[in-house]
């Protein structure tokens, strides 16, 4: 089995600051990590590697610094790493990003494509499903667990708003994974020692199978109209009371503010 995992390097903070002029994230000085849902995806792939000897290729798109998350993926145990890095990819929204990633995946052999559900910086949850559409393969989003029959069928438990669905799907297909699906393994010392002897393949736009007009800023219909930092809220009040008293307090506060 051949698996492709898409990962994203994201800033490790919930307090991301925005550049008020450009409306983009200020990444300087913020440590970067593998997006948590993507790490769940990596773990899922590595578990399939352990059980079924799957070959795992990891792809990310980003500037050269994004190589760091691919080295980390090597240290966790992936076989191959590809960094899509080219000025032509710059300024991409989710559509252009998914076009670039799908363009790269199209050139590879794969039975299963794994992405995280969504990234903690953008929170769109669009890239995974869009890749599946571009590749014209079935997709199952919000994966909580997966079983593989060893041939070509995956039985997937997917999270829904009010519970779970169990679905069966044949490969090649795409799944988007939740960080809660598993506990990602740690890098090993051996993995770290070897991670820098392995080659991270750097792919430019020429190397992938997609119309260049669909890449980067040119291929991005989304325009950021305005970006702003959320106003600071006051700390609020904490009441440690029983339920009935709490209901009373909430009702009187809501009335006080003319909400009800």
């Amino acid at each position: 089995m051949k698996i492709v995992v898409c990962i994203k390097q994201v800033p490790d903070t919930t307090e991301v600051k925005l550049d008020p002029v450009t409306g983009t994230l200020i990444r300087d000085g913020v440590p970067s990590i593998i997006n948590p849902d993507d790490k769940g995806g990596l773990e899922l792939a590595l578990e399939l590697k352990d059980k079924f000897n799957a070959e795992v290729t990891v792809i990310t798109m980003g500037p050269m610094q994004a190589e760091a998350v691919l080295r980390e993926a090597f240290a966790m145990g992936v076989d191959k790493a590809i960094l899509l890095s080219d000025r032509k990819f710059a300024g991409a929204d989710t559509l252009a990003t998914s076009n670039a990633l799908a363009g790269a995946i199209r050139t590879l052999d794969y039975d299963l494509v794994i992405t995280g559900r969504q990234a903690i910086d953008g929170d769109t949850a669009q890239v995974g499903p869009q890749i599946a559409e571009h590749l014209d393969i079935p997709q199952v989003s919000y994966l909580q667990s997966l079983e593989y029959d060893g041939k070509n069928t995956f039985t997937i438990k997917k999270q829904t708003e009010d519970g779970y669905q169990i679905v069966e799907v044949d490969g090649p297909c795409l799944v988007t994974v939740l960080s809660t699906a598993n506990k990602a393994r740690y890098m090993t010392v051996k993995g770290i020692m070897e991670a820098f002897d392995k080659e991270v393949e750097i792919w430019s736009a020429d190397k992938i199978d997609v119309d260049e007009a669909k890449l980067g800023l040119k291929g991005s219909p989304t325009k950021v109209k305005k970006a702003f930092t959320k106003g600071v809220k006051s700390a609020g009040q904490v009441y440690e009371v029983d339920t009935e008293e709490a209901i009373g307090i909430i009702l009187s506060k809501l009335k006080e503010k003319f909400i009800i």
């Binding site: 760091a68 080295r71 980390e72 240290a75 740690y186 890098m187 090993t188 010392v189 051996k190 770290i192 020692m193 991670a195 820098f196």
Partner: protein
């Protein structure tokens, strides 16, 4: 010496931090309170390769550097002094002499199991009457043709109850003084070898510190480690390396106390403001941090020299002396900043303070380190 950490070291630090924060920190208070050896942590560390960092790849280890090993001990000790010394004694005092002085057969037999953490290692030098004056060995190893017969006892042995392999120092020819001392490998379960009293300690309370008793304990002839009569030198060289581990442990404890203190002084309000706003706090924190960073440079320097196969005995002594005394000073001040809360087990600085004291004592007291440093100056 390159003061920048490499990308590889950076990735390693990220891994070890994630591991220590998630797996070691949450149980550190419990293993101290219950005086419990962290068996589950050793198993997890074995799987990740943390139990065999400097052991060569051909013997199942990671083939990594002493620099990375010392970073691991530091990071682990930042959250748990017990787990730090478990790794340090295992690696520096047991695996290291087997790596440096063992025969090919001994390396093949012991190193892979030590590297994987399946077996834990220990080292026995100290005796009731042979502490700093380690040459006064009373444990004897008698040549009985095809075997050695050990008699005597060792005290204060780290990892004692949970180790599977012990490097034991014993007298083979009393008339020769230190040249009559040899080293041996003893396996757990050897008839005549038992674990004695477990010590109740001030700190590092989970590390299983016990007496080892040898009563006509017969070990195979091939378990002599290194050459006959060279055991004292083997022990001293082993302790040189061990001191880097203990210096790293002390450094980790000091860093852990710094982290806690910085956080606390920003949160704690007195006289209408956070206590971090007072200049007294700021100046003391600045002095503490400077000493912690100086300790780190000492540790890095000693590990670098060991990696480069340069003489490092004095460097290791300085690293251990300075880092352990810094650990004691910083943890003491950390409690002072925490006030009454710091004196309770609600906050980890109380445990760090208790754990720090031993770093000035074991693997050569601060006085021994001064003897090593001055001895080199005045030779």
């Amino acid at each position: 010496m390159d003061f920048n950490i490499s990308k590889q070291e950076e990735l390693f630090l990220q891994m070890i931090r994630e591991f220590t924060e998630n797996e070691i920190k949450p149980i550190a208070a419990e293993i101290d309170e219950q005086e419990r050896f962290p068996v589950e942590t050793v198993e997890k560390m074995g799987k990740l390769g943390i139990m065999g960092i400097p052991i060569p790849v051909e013997y199942g280890g990671q083939g990594s550097t002493n620099q990375i090993y010392s970073m691991a001990v530091e990071e682990i000790s930042r959250v748990c002094g017990t787990t730090g010394v478990v790794v340090s004694a295992h690696t520096s005092l047991c695996a290291d002499p087997i790596m440096n002085f063992g025969t090919e057969e001994q390396k093949q037999k012991y190193l892979p199991k030590l590297a994987s953490g399946e077996w834990v290692g220990a080292f026995g030098l100290t005796e009731p009457n042979a502490g700093t004056d380690a040459a006064l060995q009373q444990t004897t190893a008698e040549d009985a043709g095809d075997k050695w017969i050990l008699n005597g006892s060792k005290i204060f042995i780290t990892n004692a109850e949970y180790a599977h392999v012990y490097v034991i120092i014993a007298m083979t020819d009393k008339s020769q003084g230190t040249k009559g001392i040899s080293a041996f490998i003893v396996e757990k379960g050897t008839p005549g070898f038992t674990i004695g009293k477990k010590e109740k300690k001030l700190g590092i309370r989970g590390s299983s510190t016990c007496e080892l008793i040898f009563e006509n304990c017969q070990i195979p002839k091939e378990n002599l480690l290194g050459k006959i009569g060279k055991g004292f030198s083997l022990a001293m060289k082993t302790l040189d390396g061990g001191r880097i581990g203990i210096a790293a442990q002390a450094l980790g404890l000091a860093q852990g106390a710094m982290d806690e203190t910085i956080k606390y002084t920003k949160e704690r309000k007195q006289f209408g403001k956070a206590i971090s706003k007072f200049q007294n706090t700021q100046f003391q924190l600045a002095d503490m941090e400077t000493k912690v960073q100086a300790s780190r440079l000492f540790v890095r320097n000693a590990a670098f020299k060991k990696d480069q196969k340069l003489p490092y005995s004095v460097d290791a002594a300085m690293a251990k002396l300075y880092a352990s005394e810094t650990a004691m000073e910083v943890t003491t001040k950390a409690i002072q900043f925490h006030g009454g809360y710091g004196y309770t087990r609600e906050y980890p600085v109380e445990r760090m303070f208790r754990d720090a004291k031993i770093t000035e004592i074991y693997e050569g007291t601060s006085e021994v380190q001064r003897m090593v440093i001055a001895g080199n100056l005045l030779k």
